[in-house]
Subunit: 215 residues, 2 copies
């Protein structure tokens, strides 16, 4: 099968990880361009990369139609272009429920705790490592605590197949582990994660399985 | 026309403002339930409200199907249920472009600068008003600077009719003005704002026009 496009990715980027899961669930082949978020102050700030992605954020997606940014927009685009194995329910209300869970992560947890914000807290606000860790843990626990109440209990965040919500959840939990967050206090999320990580598509997308992983 | 649902809103909430614009662009009638985000420590934290919205955030949307949270999910739901005056382009790539602009605001500017984060910076991190203002201005200028490069130049963020991107932009610029951000350095955004604010739907949705406004 022909490759459907190019993903600009970094192994540890939660947002790139989301897109990798979506592509793997769809069974689509694609090229990867690696953007190292740390080396040399971060390759995402280069003028070349910013000509593709004005925000200087990973991921970006490029295909014959052009360049797209923002992981959720990219995933919905891939879902629109390749409707097999839908990542959203067909009914509008159910679809909105799934999108709301995805956004509870992508709009309320991840942006407050991503690399650039933590870096700003260290360098411009002057917080030490412990204070940054407290910041991280505060927002992740606010967010995951609410999400635990939002998810269904049918194996995945919504229903019995993975959706956009699970695609956002798994990278967020991976990220939380790096900050030693105890995830066992969210039994539903914990169980959903175990179900997802048994699936081949999720296994292919994990950071450690990427060609640019530094282990 | 019958009211299509109930919006849980606060006049100054940027996210509620987005949904008000969407409903007004669609010409839909609805009920409003007011949630005061400041009085008594914030009515959004009440157990009653949290039974509707586990995150304790405004807005929520309630209709005969149930309760929905997250403004972008609510707006896409309203757009799905009431397809006249579409808020997204029909073509997948164009739709993704608009969603990416909306998310550049809703995922990258607003969450870092919303009420709960600024409050946490003051009370838990211990920043003074000037430092909080610097925080706000840093992230809004990062975000709007990138958005200025993302938007088209045809009167609105994308094309010549308002879309989900404009729905997110206008409340964000309103919010930025409260922090004395100079918006004239973003000439395209500034012009788009002027075009939007000439439209009746945007006028109806402004904070000062709401029944719970405190002027």
């Amino acid at each position: 099968m022909e490759n459907v496009g190019t993903l600009y990715s970094y192994w540890r980027s939660s947002a790139a990880y989301r897109v990798r899961i979506a592509l793997a669930l769809k069974g689509l082949s694609y090229d990867t361009a690696f953007v190292h978020l740390v080396n040399g102050g971060g390759e995402q700030h280069s003028s070349h990369y910013k000509s593709l992605n004005a925000q200087g954020l990973v991921p970006s997606w490029q295909d014959e139609e052009g360049v797209l940014t923002q992981s959720l927009a990219i995933i919905e685009y891939i879902n629109d272009c390749h409707p097999d194995t839908p990542l959203l329910p067909a009914a509008p209300f159910a679809r909105a429920k799934v999108r709301a869970m995805a956004q509870a992560i992508a709009c309320e947890i991840h942006p407050i705790n991503n690399l650039r914000v933590l870096k700003y807290l260290r360098t411009s606000v002057g917080l030490d490592d412990d204070a940054v860790k407290s910041w991280y843990q505060h927002w992740v626990s606010e967010g995951l605590g609410a999400l635990e109440l939002m998810v269904e209990d049918d194996g995945f965040c919504y229903g019995n197949t993975p959706s956009l919500a699970d695609i956002c959840l798994i990278p967020q939990l991976y990220n939380a582990r790096r900050f030693n967050v105890d995830l066992t206090i969210y039994p539903k999320l914990y169980r959903i994660e175990a179900n997802c990580l048994q699936l081949e598509a999720f296994k292919q997308a994990v950071p450690e399985a990427q060609a640019d992983a530094q282990l």
